[in-house]
């Protein structure tokens, strides 16, 4: 003990072992402080790590900058571990908070947000969109007579909607509202379907790209144009109520014969009573639990929230006189059976179909098989017009535009982010390893993780461990 205070100046020689396996031998007087040591180590001849990123560990303790080496009793020949830490806490914390938020649908309200946003719809700028007036009208044929503002006016056509958005005030209000986590929470809370979908919804809503799309009049125009071209009949006759039989989805006539048994496994259990009719309201996704599915045809956005690729199917299916296929089972929307859901099911279980769809949407095809509906000569251009907004969505986490809609309808898939579980991230590599005869899942994952996903490295690791 005494030697501490008398500051024994005999230099000690010790090792510093860095996490990259490099080993440095230093001879230093014990009176030297840890920060001095770090500064020394930050030089290019040593670890070359800035002092504030160095963590020195000795004998089970993290060395504090201000202390001297003597106070930790670093002895001759001992080893101090050098670890490269995060630059500061900043890097780690946001990531964690993100996961906390994503974990619970009932996220904490942001500070400074007036609570009446959640309680009083009177104060809510989105009341017209999030209110209950859309909810529960699943079978009500004339739901479309309610304007997005809740009024009884004629349904605004998408043009109208878009021009409304061109009003900078409205656009910015909406944008602001969407930027407000609490509003999003409220939307999600008020909509069981969104609620079920968990954190992804919030993530998506919070994505600036998505917001930009939602509030970009141009994008809305594109979308509505596409809607019209795909499903003109439906929108033309919006007043027609529930009597319109759902036409058989045109696209299914390429497959459904082979697929009927596939039904009921994954798809679309959420909206058996989906409303077949919705106004072509791009905002139908807000607070409209029942409408989402049914609006699929009308509303490409709804597809993202709705069940099983409704939007995708809707694009091809509804509205036009049914010249093709009557295979779709239960084609009576009044009974709540939704042929599109069935089709979506088929589609989802048929990757080829999905691809075809995507291809068509990507402008590759006025593919006659994908768009057999003769009333759709413009399908191709429509697909092009509509495609841009959807690429934005693709960037949003691999929802993959139309194809992804199917994924969204099934129980929420893991969002493809960096932090995906290794099983997903390394799916391809794991398959390869399996093919090579490495069947131990845990070990494979471990090996892949250690080698950063390199199959070859993983094989080497597996063989040597």
């Amino acid at each position: 003990m005494a030697d501490e205070s008398t500051a024994d100046e005999t230099p000690i020689t010790f090792n510093v072992k860095s996490s990259s396996d490099a080993k440095y031998v230093l001879t230093i007087p014990p009176s030297m402080t840890v920060i001095d040591l770090k500064t020394k180590l930050s030089g290019p001849e040593y670890a070359d790590i800035p002092p504030d990123r160095q963590r020195l560990i000795y004998s089970g303790r993290v060395l504090k900058d201000a202390d001297t080496l003597g106070s930790y009793k670093v002895k001759e020949g001992n080893t101090v571990h050098l670890v490269k830490g995060a630059a500061s806490n900043q890097r780690q914390n946001p990531a964690n908070q993100g996961s906390v938020n994503a974990g619970g649908p009932g996220a904490q309200p942001a500070p400074g947000v007036p609570t009446n946003l959640a309680s009083g719809t009177g104060q809510d700028p989105l009341a017209g969109l999030t209110g209950a007036r859309y909810a529960g009208y699943a079978q009500m044929p004339n739901a479309n007579m309610f304007g997005p503002d809740g009024g009884m006016g004629p349904p605004p056509d998408p043009e109208h909607m878009a021009s409304m958005l061109e009003n900078p005030n409205f656009a910015s209000t909406l944008n602001e509202a969407l930027a407000n986590p609490q509003v999003i929470d409220q939307m999600i809370r008020s909509n069981p379907m969104l609620r079920d979908m968990g954190p992804q919804v919030r993530q998506m809503m919070q994505d600036p790209g998505f917001r930009a799309m939602m509030t970009n009049p141009e994008a809305l125009r594109n979308i509505s144009q596409m809607q019209r071209q795909f499903g003109g009949g439906m929108f033309g006759g919006t007043g027609g109520g529930g009597n319109q039989a759902f036409p058989a989805p045109g696209i299914t006539d390429t497959t459904p014969g082979g697929q009927p048994s596939a039904e009921g496994e994954t798809a679309a259990p959420r909206q058996p009573d989906a409303a077949p009719q919705q106004p072509p309201n791009p905002f139908a996704m807000f607070g409209n639990p029942a409408g989402v599915g049914g609006a699929g045809g009308a509303n490409p956005f709804a597809a993202l929230f709705g069940s099983g690729g409704m939007g995708g199917s809707g694009g091809n299916a509804p509205g036009s006189p049914p010249p093709v296929g009557t295979q779709a089972p239960g084609a009576n929307p009044q009974q709540g059976a939704n042929p599109i859901a069935d089709m979506a099911r088929n589609m989802m279980q048929n990757p080829q179909m999905m691809q075809q769809m995507m291809g068509a949407m990507g402008g590759m095809g006025a593919n006659p098989t994908a768009n057999p509906d003769p009333s759709n000569p413009n399908a191709n251009s429509a697909a092009n017009a509509g495609f841009n907004p959807f690429t934005a969505l693709q960037g949003l986490g691999g929802m993959g535009g139309f194809g992804g809609a199917g994924a969204f309808g099934t129980p929420p898939p893991p969002a493809p982010q960096d932090d995906r579980p290794p099983e997903d991230r390394y799916a391809e590599q794991l398959r390869q390893l399996n093919d090579m005869g490495f069947y131990e899942f845990e070990r494979n994952v471990e090996a892949l993780r250690r080698t950063g996903g390199s199959v070859q490295g993983a094989v080497e690791y597996l063989l040597t461990h």
Binding site: D21, S59, G60, R61, T79, H81, Q92, N93, S99, R449
Partner: protein
């Protein structure tokens, strides 16, 4: 104690291994008070496993080796806050019933065994995503 390595010899061995850094990279341990002749209280650190919420973090622990060590396991307590099923969220104490190497303690186990096992525990797929308290907070 018969032919078994007596407690203090064993602890001296571990001390040397810890100080010289002969053990695993990611764990470090040493006496918390170098003058403690009974070598009861130890510090340990675990470097958070990569690709987990613990990445880049350093967790400090206290390890207490009782009179009967190594016949009985030491008690282990986290100093740094950590969210892990085997760690008491109020005290930071590691629940011996929840960690196999403590539950099925063998005489050959060392403090390093525990630290490594804890680290492995952190990296388990079901644990590595657990939201973690702010770095640097302590129990």
């Amino acid at each position: 104690m018969g032919a078994k390595v007596p407690r203090n010899f064993r602890l001296l061995e571990e001390l040397e291994k810890g100080e010289k850094g002969l053990g695993a990279e990611a764990c470090s341990y040493g006496l918390s008070d170098g003058d403690d002749l009974l070598m009861s209280n130890w510090n340990g650190t675990i470097l958070g496993p990569p690709h987990s919420a613990h990445e880049n973090r350093i967790y400090s622990l206290n390890i207490h080796c009782g009179e009967t060590y190594p016949d009985t396991p030491p008690t282990v307590q986290f100093v740094s806050k950590i969210n892990l099923p085997c760690v008491d969220q109020k005290t930071g104490r590691v629940d011996p019933q929840r960690l196999p190497c403590l539950y099925q303690w063998k005489r050959e186990n060392t403090m390093e065994t525990i630290l490594i096992e804890l680290r492995r525990f952190m990296a388990l797929p079901q644990h590595k995503k657990l939201p973690q308290p702010a770095e640097g907070s302590t129990f």
